[in-house]
Symmetry: C2
Subunit: 199 residues, 2 copies
């Protein structure tokens, strides 16, 4: 390899990011040379800030630069409903739809003993206290319908047995626009189970 | 979008790189949060260095941090042969093979009037002087066999008419291991034209 050291270093850094191999890292590192000074400065400062400014909201676990995060701070939202999600980026999806006006609770993963992820590794310990103190009426489980998701949902249900919070989960079924021919049997069976009366 | 400003800035920066869209940029920006301090520091310093330390070798046009570049500096190489390439990254490919021991000359593009790239936009002006001063005996054109490549090759040939340098080009034909059934007609016709007697 005869690249100058700076370019080799950039290649090494890009290779540390997920889904980026040798060739892509090389292409990205070379394209950095075409960025203008302003972008480079923004890039440098954001990288530095990512280490110092970004923390987890101490109430909901969302990525934030303020304490609590802007969603928890927002007094126009419904503070009696919690939507439980796996990761911070799930919040962005819900916020893009814009119909959910409650608060969130980010688990930071799902229970998966095989991968060594136990309930105590997740942001679960504060949940019962939060429900009591903030007088939460409903929690909505918006986690994926996998073995890990179901395990986590059951765990949360059990954990909150002695509170009178209503626990719901988002509907699993056939996505809009999908052709039933191409739906996998598991989804089809869940969709059958969850059938609703046409009013 | 409800990401903290730092993450939004990172997304914007990643989106400036080629082949990276909104979703990938989001994934990369979030994965930056998992990098350790050492990697972040290396990343920050390399980005800064990319603006200050990397220049073009004043002899061959290769990306370098020294003047001239390490290849031009290397006295064990054959300084009488020049391999003309389109981009700096082409040099890496040749260096990986390791069989070419001459010097390079990086054009920084190919002549393409339709895209507004004229001969004066390329690193061509210094070529005749370089051939004379450095007493170059042969130049090898290692540029792609496209309309732009052929135009550039013709231009270089014309430019060096009154020198007695030997101009060659690398062989175009069927790549090793390829199935003739799947070769495009143009390559096949070039391969026929370039046929060689089996000795």
């Amino acid at each position: 390899m005869k690249y100058p050291p700076t370019i080799n270093n950039l290649i090494e850094c890009f290779k540390k990011l997920p889904g980026i191999g040798e060739k892509t890292a090389e292409r990205l590192a070379l394209s950095v040379l075409d960025l203008n000074e302003e972008t480079i400065n923004l890039f440098v400062n954001s990288l530095k800030d990512s280490q110092t400014k970004i923390t987890k909201c101490e109430k909901c676990g969302n990525l934030t630069e303020t304490q609590p995060c802007i969603i928890c701070q927002n007094q126009t939202r419904d503070h009696s409903v919690l939507c439980i999600v796996e990761e911070s980026q799930n919040i962005i999806l819900f916020e893009k739809i814009g119909t959910f006006k409650g608060l969130y609770h980010v688990l930071g993963g799902l229970i998966s003993p095989l991968d060594g992820i136990n309930p105590e590794d997740l942001n679960l310990a504060t949940l019962p206290k939060r429900i009591k103190e903030e007088n939460i009426k409903e929690i909505i489980l918006a986690i994926k319908p996998s073995v890990e998701g179901e395990t986590t949902a059951l765990y949360i249900k059990k954990m909150l047995e002695d509170t009178d919070v209503v626990i719901t989960k988002i509907a699993y079924g056939i996505p809009l626009g999908a052709d039933i021919d191409y739906i996998d049997p598991m989804t089809l069976s869940i969709a059958m189970e969850g059938r609703m009366k046409i009013s």
